[in-house]
């Protein structure tokens, strides 16, 4: 029925998520580490946000973190391609940065500040002509699902 499944997926934001497999089944969160003050930034950057140094090196960020806070979004913003309600999590990485993304594969009673979460990738499509996008998500660390999930919208 739809043609988009035959299109190669793209990263939702190449400055923040690198795809490590052509089908989008593996990927890594991108960051930068400052060679002068050691601060990390989520996403590609040219200058350090903490000390303004331009001496930065790329650094792959951890695939897991701690749930710093979460909310169940009942009224989604315009353009949200997923179902509602959805869970939005603020996750603290071991390197420091906080990364906001949807939390999938969790029952409401599993959600709690401080739980361990891990990176999950989801293929999201919106519109027949659009290439599917691989979106980074979080899922509870004890959730047994495979990393790659597919959203059918």
């Amino acid at each position: 029925m739809s043609t988009h499944r035959n299109l190669a997926p793209v990263s939702v934001d190449p400055a923040r998520l690198r795809l490590d497999a052509a089908d989008g089944s593996a990927g890594t969160l991108l960051g930068m580490r400052c060679l002068d003050c050691s601060a990390y930034v989520f996403g590609l950057a040219v200058f350090c946000q903490a000390c303004t140094s331009s001496r930065l090196e790329p650094a792959d960020l951890s695939r897991s973190g701690i749930l710093y806070s979460y909310t169940i979004v009942r009224v989604p913003p315009s353009g949200w391609p997923g179902a509602a309600p959805y869970v939005l999590g603020e996750v603290e990485l071991p390197e420091g940065p906080h990364v906001l993304a949807e939390v999938i594969g969790a029952d409401e009673e599993d959600l709690q500040i401080g739980i361990d979460v891990k990176l999950a990738l989801q293929k999201v499509t919106s519109g027949e002509s659009e290439k599917p996008r691989i979106v980074y998500k979080w899922t509870p660390a004890n959730c047994g699902q495979s990393e790659m999930r597919e959203a059918h919208n």
Partner: protein, 384 residues
């Protein structure tokens, strides 16, 4: 951080407000102009004497709306600057007018703002941004994340947060300009429709339309324009900051709850006043949690304790720390470009002793604080 030293003393001589609500038959420029007319009438300043005008607004209604709004008053050739700084657009326009005068460049300046905010959740990024797929760009979801964290860290009960709205509605019931004047109980607030748990609808500010304006003058030039200082209110400080690195490494939505601190410190230093001197406060209560964290960032209570001050009634009219005396964003509504100047309007009205049924007794020092996306913060101090 602000390294400039204020020069001439600046006073607010006139303020004007258009009611906040929905005005579908009025375009943005007309809405803006109406507040300007009120502000000029308030101080009897002639439009031809205004030397510069700054106009705060966010949503696009065509180019140069500030010029369109003011053209109907006469084409005087003055610089008119349109200012977009998210929810702090109005307070940024005020900040620019202040610095335009204190620097010596102008004697008389106008700061005004207006907005017609569309309904539905407010987003910061463009419609084609990756954020729309990621799901993190949702103002109230951002506040909800902060609220859950705050409740977990401080032990604040949901009822204390709901009390912020109850208090806002009580204040607004005394204010004919407010968008939402009906009063609510804690139970009403908590049982309203969930928006982003734990935030319920009545804990989120309404999206509104409205406008506000302020006329500022150098104190030493009042006489040159036939003005006196009988109703003038001194601007003791005007500070504006953007985001500081907070260790969160820039995911734009994971904003710091205490980003107001640097602007607060700058404003206290500029004015020689401290938190203990402040008699009434207007803060950016886009959501209930916002009010609590702003109060703490302004050092008006210790961190983690603003919810107690609220629960004890200290922030209500008649308390020792009255906050958002006109109803705040939660009840006045939040037309972005107007909000910061609406806060100036309320502070000036209170310090003049003209606030009628919501008058704070013996009010001599007032503080106004506005937040915006991009971690923009403004803090202004006023004194009589």
């Amino acid at each position: 951080m602000n390294r400039f030293t204020p020069g001439r003393e600046v006073v607010v001589v006139g303020v004007g407000l258009h009611p906040f609500g929905r005005f579908r038959d009025k375009d943005l420029a007309t809405l803006a102009r109406d507040a300007v007319l009120e502000s000029l009438k308030d101080c009897d300043v002639q439009w031809r004497d205004i030397q510069v005008a700054y106009f705060g607004h966010v949503y696009y209604h065509g180019m140069s709306v500030g010029e369109t709004a003011l053209a109907s008053l006469g084409l005087t050739g003055i610089p008119i600057i349109n200012v977009e700084n998210a929810c702090s657009s109005g307070s940024t326009a005020f900040w620019q007018a202040y610095w335009g005068i204190t620097s010596g460049m102008y004697d008389l300046a106008l700061a005004f703002g207006a907005e017609k905010v569309p309904g539905g959740p407010v987003t910061v990024t463009a419609a084609d941004s990756p954020e729309r797929f990621i799901g993190g760009d949702h103002m109230m979801a951002g506040y909800a994340l902060r609220m859950r964290r705050y409740m977990s860290e401080t032990g604040a009960p949901a009822s204390a947060l709901a009390q912020v709205t109850v208090k806002a509605r009580q204040n607004a019931s005394l204010n004919p300009y407010a968008h939402r004047k009906e009063t609510y109980t804690v139970e009403d607030v908590l049982s309203s429709r969930p928006i982003a748990d734990p935030l319920t609808l009545y804990q989120c500010c309404p999206t509104s339309e409205g406008s506000a304006a302020a006329v500022l003058c150098a104190r030493d030039a009042l006489g040159s324009y036939g003005l006196d200082d009988s109703r003038a209110v001194t601007v003791a400080a005007a500070a504006l900051t953007s985001g500081n690195y907070n260790g969160r490494g820039s995911d734009h939505s994971a904003f710091s709850p205490y980003r107001t601190e640097p602007a607060a410190i700058a404003a206290y230093e500029m004015s020689g006043l401290g938190p203990e001197d402040v008699d009434l406060v207007q803060v950016h209560d886009a959501a209930t949690i916002g009010e609590l964290q702003q109060i703490e960032a302004l050092q008006l209570t210790p961190k983690g304790e603003a919810w107690k001050a609220t629960a004890e009634g200290r922030t209500a009219l008649g308390g020792d720390l009255p906050v958002n005396t006109d109803g705040g964003l939660l009840a006045m509504g939040h037309p972005f470009g107007a909000t910061g100047i609406r806060m100036v309007h309320e502070t000036v009205t209170q310090l003049r002793g003209e606030a009628g049924p919501r008058q704070v007794a013996n009010a001599r020092v007032g503080l106004a604080q506005c937040s915006g996306a991009g971690d923009v913060t403004t803090v202004q101090l006023f004194k009589r």
